[in-house]
Symmetry: C2
Subunit: 391 residues, 2 copies
C-alpha cells in the first residue's frame, strides 16, 4: 500500500446554517483546496446521513463535485450513521493507498436543524434495529442513558463525572471559532446550584441536557493524497498512518455485556497497530462524545486508561488541554457540535490542525501523533484513525 | 495494485418483495457466500439510495453485516443515485486492490414499491439539481423524454427503435428467472395495433410505458477478493480488470450538447483502457436502460457503434442474444427491473454469470470479456466496469 497524507483541510462553522446541503458540503472543499493549493482532484466523497430524508437531496457526491468545479472527478456519497465521516476517510485512504487515485477529497456535511428536535431524534433512531429496538421506542439518548446507568453501577461513575466532561469540552469549544456552543459553563451552574434543575434538566435520566451534543448544521473537509503530491505542497507531512474499523451487533441487547464497547477496542487496536503506535504514544485525541459518558468509556476502550478508570483520569485532569492526553480540545461533539456526516471528518480536521501546530489557543504542545474515534450506531460500527506528523 | 476477482454472486427476485430492506440486502449475500464457499469476509458495502426516506433505515451496512453473521467486518453504505451499485463495487475493488482487505462483499438493495408511483418518481428526482431542475418540475422521465426528442431530431431515432429495445430486453427477461417482467411483448402489441394506445400510453412523450423500467424491489451481491483467495475457490477466474468513473454537470442544461453523454464516454474509455481491451473485444454488455433511449445512446458512447448509429445496429439485430454484441441479455433495467441500489451490482452479477458460462438459456457463447455501464443522475455520474475471464 502507498502512504497516504492529509494535505488540506477546511471547515464551516457548526451552527444553524441557512445554506443548502450541497453548499454546506462544498464550502469546506473550497477552503481545503485553497489550503493545499490544488485545483483539481481525482475523486470526491461526501459523508452524509440525512440528505434523502431531511433535505430532499440524494446523489450528493454528483452535486458537490460539480458545485466545487471538480468535474470530471469520480464522486460518491458514504453513509455510515454517525461514523459516516470516518467511513468516507477510510474510502479515501484506500483510493490513494491502492494507487487508483492520487488526490481524493473527503467532505462531510449535514443540515439537520431545519427539522425539530423530535424529528431529528427519530431520524437518528433510524439506525437502530427496526424490530429489536426502534419499535420499542429506543432512541440514541435512551440507549446512551441505559448504558450510563450500567456504567455507573459497575464503575462508580457519577453525574458529576459526566458533567465534568461537558464542562471541559464546552469550555474547550470557546477556543474554537467554528464550534457551535460558545457559552462558558461551570459545575456550579449545571449541577450544584438550585438553578441547575431548570438549566440542566434530565433528557434521559441520568443524562441531562448538558450531557448531550447539540443538533448542528455544518461541514468539514480533508484532502488526502499520495506522498508525491503531499511533498509538493511544502506543508508539514501529516500521514494517515492507521485506519481501523470494527462492527458489533446491530442491537445493543445482543451483546453479552453492553458496557463492553468491543468495536471501539478492536478498531482502535487495528488503527494503532497499523500505524505502529501504542496508546501511550498518542499526543492528542478526538473521541466521539455525542453523550458525555461516551468520552469516558471510549478513553478506556482505546487504551488510554484501564477499563473503569476513565472517570478517575478525568478527575485528575489528564484529559484536559495541558494534561497527559488531551481529549476533544476542539470542543468535541459536545461543544463543536454534531452535524452527523461532518463529525468524523471534523475530527480528522482537528488532528491535521494540531499536528501542523496551527491550533493557536488550543494547541497541544509538540503533538506528533493524533488519534480519532468515530462511533457509529450505538457502538455497532466504529472507525479509528491514527495520524502521524513526519518530520 | 493487486488484481481483484469476482468470486461469488447472489441475487433475489426483482419484483414486489415483502421483506424488510435489511433482508433484501442480506439474502443475496447469503447466496453469494454459499456460491464461493466462504463464511467470513473483511469488509461489506451496501449500495442503497432510498433507505433513509423510503424505509426508515439508515446505517444499512451496520445492519446487514450483523444480519449476515459477518461481524466484526467493516461495513458502510454507498449512495450514488442510480449508480450506487457500481460505486460500491468500485469501493470494493479499491479495498482489495490496495491490500487493505482480502475479501469484500458488495451488496445492493432497494425496497421501493411500498411507495406509490408518484412518490417513487419524486424520490428519484431528489438527485436532480434542486434549483435548476427540480423546482421546475423536472423528473427523470421528463429528462429522458427531452433527451429522446433531441436524439430523434439529430439522429433519426424513431419510436419504433425505442420499442425495439423494449421488446428485445423484456423478452430477454423471460430467460431470467429473477427478472421482474415475465410477460412477452411484441412490436405489434405495444406499437402497431389499435390496442397499443391503451396498452402502451405515453408517460412523457415520446417515451411510452414500455420504454420505462418498472419500479422494483430487489437485491444483488458480488463478492470481490484477492487472487490468492480467488484461486482457492476452484471456480473460473473472473477478474474485475477495469473500473472507470466520470462525472458531468449536475444539471443537464449546463451541457453544451445534452445528447453528448460525456461521462459515459470517459468512464467507458477509462475502464477499457485499464483492462487493456477495446470495444470490439467485448463479448457481452449490460447497459443502463432505465429508459430505452439510454441503451441506444450508451451503446454508441461506450464505443460499440458510431455516434448516431446505435439504432441502426439495433435494427440489424447486432445487440440481440446471438448478435455481434449482445446487450442486456439479462433483461436489463427494462426487463429485470431497477431496484436502484441493486442495479449496478446486478449488472456485475450478470457478467460473472456469463463469463463463468453458467447462464443457460441466455448464455452468450464463449464470452470472455464483459462490460457494464451504470448511469447515475441523468448522466452526471457514470461508472463502467470491465470483467475478463482468465483461463
Amino acid at each position: 500500500m502507498r502512504n497516504v497524507y492529509a494535505i488540506g483541510i477546511g471547515i464551516t462553522s457548526f451552527t444553524r446554517l441557512e445554506f443548502q446541503l450541497v453548499e454546506i458540503a462544498s464550502y469546506p472543499v473550497m477552503f481545503a483546496l485553497r489550503d493545499c493549493g490544488l485545483k483539481q482532484v481525482d475523486q470526491l466523497y461526501v459523508a452524509n446521513m440525512g440528505g434523502a430524508r431531511l433535505n430532499h437531496q440524494t446523489a450528493l457526491g454528483s452535486a458537490v463535485v460539480d458545485s466545487c468545479n471538480l468535474l470530471p472527478a469520480g464522486a460518491a456519497t458514504i453513509e455510515n450513521g454517525p461514523a459516516s465521516g470516518a467511513a468516507a476517510i477510510k474510502e479515501g485512504f484506500m483510493a490513494v493507498a491502492s494507487g487508483m487515485h492520487d488526490v481524493v477529497v473527503v467532505t462531510g456535511a449535514e443540515r439537520m436543524r431545519e427539522v425539530n428536535g423530535l424529528e431529528a431524534t427519530d431520524f437518528v433512531a433510524s439506525l437502530t434495529h427496526p424490530l429489536a429496538e426502534y419499535i420499542y421506542g429506543v432512541t440514541l439518548p435512551s440507549l446512551a442513558a441505559m448504558f450510563t446507568r450500567l456504567y455507573m453501577e459497575k464503575y462508580g461513575v457519577t453525574e458529576r463525572h459526566l458533567a465534568m466532561v461537558g464542562v471541559k469540552n464546552q469550555n474547550n469549544a470557546l477556543k474554537n471559532e467554528f464550534a457551535h456552543l460558545q457559552q462558558a459553563i461551570t459545575l456550579e451552574g449545571i449541577l450544584d446550584s438550585e438553578e441547575a434543575f431548570t438549566n440542566n434538566p434530565y433528557v434521559a435520566e441520568p443524562l441531562r441536557f448538558f450531557d448531550c451534543c447539540p443538533v448542528s448544521d455544518g461541514g468539514a473537509c480533508v484532502i488526502l493524497a499520495s506522498e508525491e503530491v503531499a511533498k509538493k505542497t511544502g506543508r508539514p507531512m501529516i500521514r494517515l498512518a492507521g485506519v481501523g474499523q470494527s462492527t458489533d451487533t446491530h442491537a445493543v441487547l445482543a451483546r453479552k455485556d453492553p458496557t463492553d464497547l468491543l468495536a471501539v477496542r478492536r478498531a482502535a487496536a487495528q488503527s494503532m497497530e497499523m500505524a505502529g503506535v501504542k496508546p501511550k504514544d498518542v499526543d492528542v485525541a478526538e473521541l466521539h462524545d455525542a453523550f458525555t459518558i461516551l468520552e469516558i468509556a471510549e478513553s478506556e476502550e482505546v487504551g488510554f486508561f484501564k477499563k473503569g478508570e476513565g472517570h478517575l483520569a478525568l478527575e485528575r485532569g489528564e484529559t484536559e488541554l495541558g494534561g497527559k492526553i488531551p481529549i476533544n480540545v476542539s470542543g468535541g461533539l459536545k461543544g463543536r457540535g454534531h452535524p452527523v456526516g461532518a463529525t468524523g471528518v471534523a475530527q480528522a480536521y482537528e488532528m491535521v490542525y494540531q499536528l501542523r501546530g496551527e491550533a493557536g489557543e488550543r494547541q497541544v504542545k509538540d503533538a506528533k501523533v493524533g488519534f480519532t474515534c468515530n462511533f457509529g450506531g450505538f457502538g455497532n460500527n466504529v472507525i479509528c484513525l491514527t495520524f502521524i506528523r513526519e518530520d
